[in-house]
Amino acid sequence: MHIDLRTITITPLRQTFGHLARRMGADKPASRYFEATMDLQPVENFHYRPTWDPAYEIFDKTRTCITMQDWYALKDPRQYYYGPWTLARGRMQETAEADFDLVEEMGLAQAYAAEGRALVNEVFVPLRHAAWASNINNSFIGSYSYGIAMSQAATFASMDQLGVAQYLTRLGLAFDGTESLAAAKDAWLQHPRWQELRRYVEDVMVLKDWFEVFIAQNVALEGLLYPLFFERLNERLNATHGPVLSLLTRFQREWFTESSKWVDAVIKSAAADNPGNKAQLSTWLREWRDRAVTALDPVVARAFGNDGPAQLGEAVAQFNARFTKAGLAP
């Protein structure tokens, strides 16, 4: 017997789960982002304390000095749970794949002018190690932050940064093969131009407060690094040598624009929660911004020459405007 189930209308007993109805204040259908995120991290009755850090519970609000009335106010405006995140990245990788194929087929990287090639090798390729550091630091946030809204977004960001590191690796391979990578790694470890930046990311690796890591890595460092190199330097190289580099760094630019929405929303919610947060976040912001300027200065000098100080000054001004808008006092 064939049963046609599409033809029947039945009244649901309820529209959503109890915890979501309580959060929304009504029994109404919840988005898949809500279903996948809200109020799901255990908050009580943990069986054991971590043997690696018995001062804290498994999930513990006091792992940062920032406080929130509701940790799920740190929502992701992109509404990324795993599905939409991976679909968005799937689309971006498809474009990137086509771009890398095109550059390879046409031999565009090999035909790139020597002066531009040197900048790619000396400025962009070593940044693969900075992205690797960001991968580590975001995995720290993903491990110790409170609530799934924050932990999942940070874990996705960590994977995004691994992706960035791998695309920068492919950039080096496309231009000069494994020699480019070896030279970049050597520079990252030894060359004076990179030591302040390396010190910066290593110092972030030993911070204990995950929200401070968020400020130091995702706000201060990436908030200056991406506009300076993936936007400003990229434009300059395009103007001189054509859009090849732009094709091969499209992922990073798109990622930064999109990820900034998340970073800004987190800052905005945390700063709006209470004045203590606003003051603490602003203190961290100023401290890590100034350190990031010191760290990036030698790389900026190589990238822009005499124009370096002006470019850096403009980037800092834009940065300050961005975070003033998000509710901080830079």
């Binding site: 017997m1 049963i3 189930l5 599409r6 029947i8 039945i10 649901p12 007993l13 309820r14 959503t16 789960f17 109890g18 915890h19 279903e35 996948a36 109020d39 799901l40 255990p42 009580e44 069986h47 054991y48 304390r49 971590p50 043997t51 498994i58 749970y81 795993y82 599905g83 991976t86 990245r89 799937g90 990788q93 390879e104 090999q110 002018a113 020597a114 992205a131 690797w132 580590i136 995995s139 993903g142 491990s143 932990s151 874990t155 996705f156 960590s158 994977m159 691994l162 992706g163 590191a165 791998q166 690796t169 391979l173 496309a174 494994t178 990578l181 010190r199 110092d203 690796m205 030993v206």
Partner: protein, 514 residues
Amino acid sequence: MTTAPPKKLSLKERYTLMTRDLAWDTTYQPMSKVYPQVGYEGIKIHDWNRWEDPFRLTMDAYWKYQAEKERKLYAILDAFNQNNGHLTVTDARYINVLKLYLGSTPPLELMAARGFTNMGRQMVGAGPRVACLMQAVDEYRHFQTQIHSVSNYNKYYNGLDEFAHQQSRMWYLSDGKSFFDDAITAGPFEFMVAIGFAFEYVLTNILFVPFISGAAYNGDLAAMTVGFSAQSDEARHMTLGLECIKFLLEQDPDNLPIVQRWIDKWTWRGTRKLGAVGMMMDYMLPKRIMSFKEAWEIYFEQNGSALFNDLARYGIKVPACFSQTVVEKEHVSHQSWIGFYMKSRAMSFHTWVPGPEELDWLSEKYPNTFDRFYRPTLEHWDKMEKQGKRFVNNTQPMNCQCCLNTIKYNEPDDPMSTCFRESVYKGEKFHFCSDHCKAIFDHEPEKYVQAYISSHQALQGNCAPEGVDVTANDFDPARYMNDFWRLDPRATGDFNGSDDQKNFAAWRAQATTN
């Protein structure tokens, strides 16, 4: 100037450049401060570069294939929901499987996600770091797709709506919670052996392969799609667990006794955790493909033996509990079901006595035990129910201090007596369901005394609302438990006579009449 295009790299060379070549040893901060957790368990690692990457997925390939899986999965889920797919399942008893699954599985996937994120932070080698992080996001995937696949059922059936609240309070969910709480509070290498190896490699096949195939057989396209799609990531996770064991054993001979103890411990903890899965397979799936016993033989005994034979070259021995699990596979699903049947007032899923043909199937699948030990009880309860006297046991259960299961399993050599063990620590007595649980406790008592046991909490008055005098002579702890659990009475009791049963029948009837 034009240079020659770079030569094409092999998968291995390329993967090395894309992962471990990105890493460096820090010098501005000491490595011991950057990676503070890898030392304290006593594991010795001399060369992280000896780690072999089994799967060599770069992020671009990861996103490509995972996006393809997600597109397919959500398309099927949407279609299933739009077409009232919940009415295509074999019978409404099946939905009770989903209630237990929703309460017990996604919350643990989340713990795995958080745990593997921490492994991805703490592992020193780039190879394991990347594999752990990939597993972390996969676990978010499983956690979320599982909830999404059951979400539509929640609109029509009782007992699913409070899983988030119940995950940390419900007595029968505390075994799973303690399993993952135990792993995540252990050091990183123990976590890897516990979850990566014992759980993923040795045990998850039992949960996902025969059980999800069973969901398919019972018409649940949603659970099948999510289950198999999750399992496609699992193959990667299993190789990570296996590689981790080999790596630890190859690094230093001193690691062997530590790893062996972890394998013994976690194989047993996992075995206990899977008792409920046996019950789902043997009792809760209206149509069955194989018994729990058969699944145990294929996926634990045969596959496990292949694995342990292979690891023998490092000095690893078959886990101490292996022979006991072989005996218990004939009992565990029946004892679990009987245990749950009795407590039906305190659970958010229904239980029932299987029908005559189902009892015959169990007799055939368990010729050594079912007719002798379990069928008479079930038939007796069936008679009682038909006389309007459905059997219920309202006493507080006694829980094992280690695995948190109610103490209900038999002595290894005597199916007719319940196994009790105890230890005294700092003047206090603690109870266990088995020798293996007692041994785990005795090795680390300071950890296991912390366990949160809900029956104890209830008796101590910790589950009563504010303002209740829990020291009064007439204090009745049971009175407040339903509120503490947010337990919907419609979700409790026998399946026969339940709202689920009536609604499902009425909705199906609508489809076949005008």
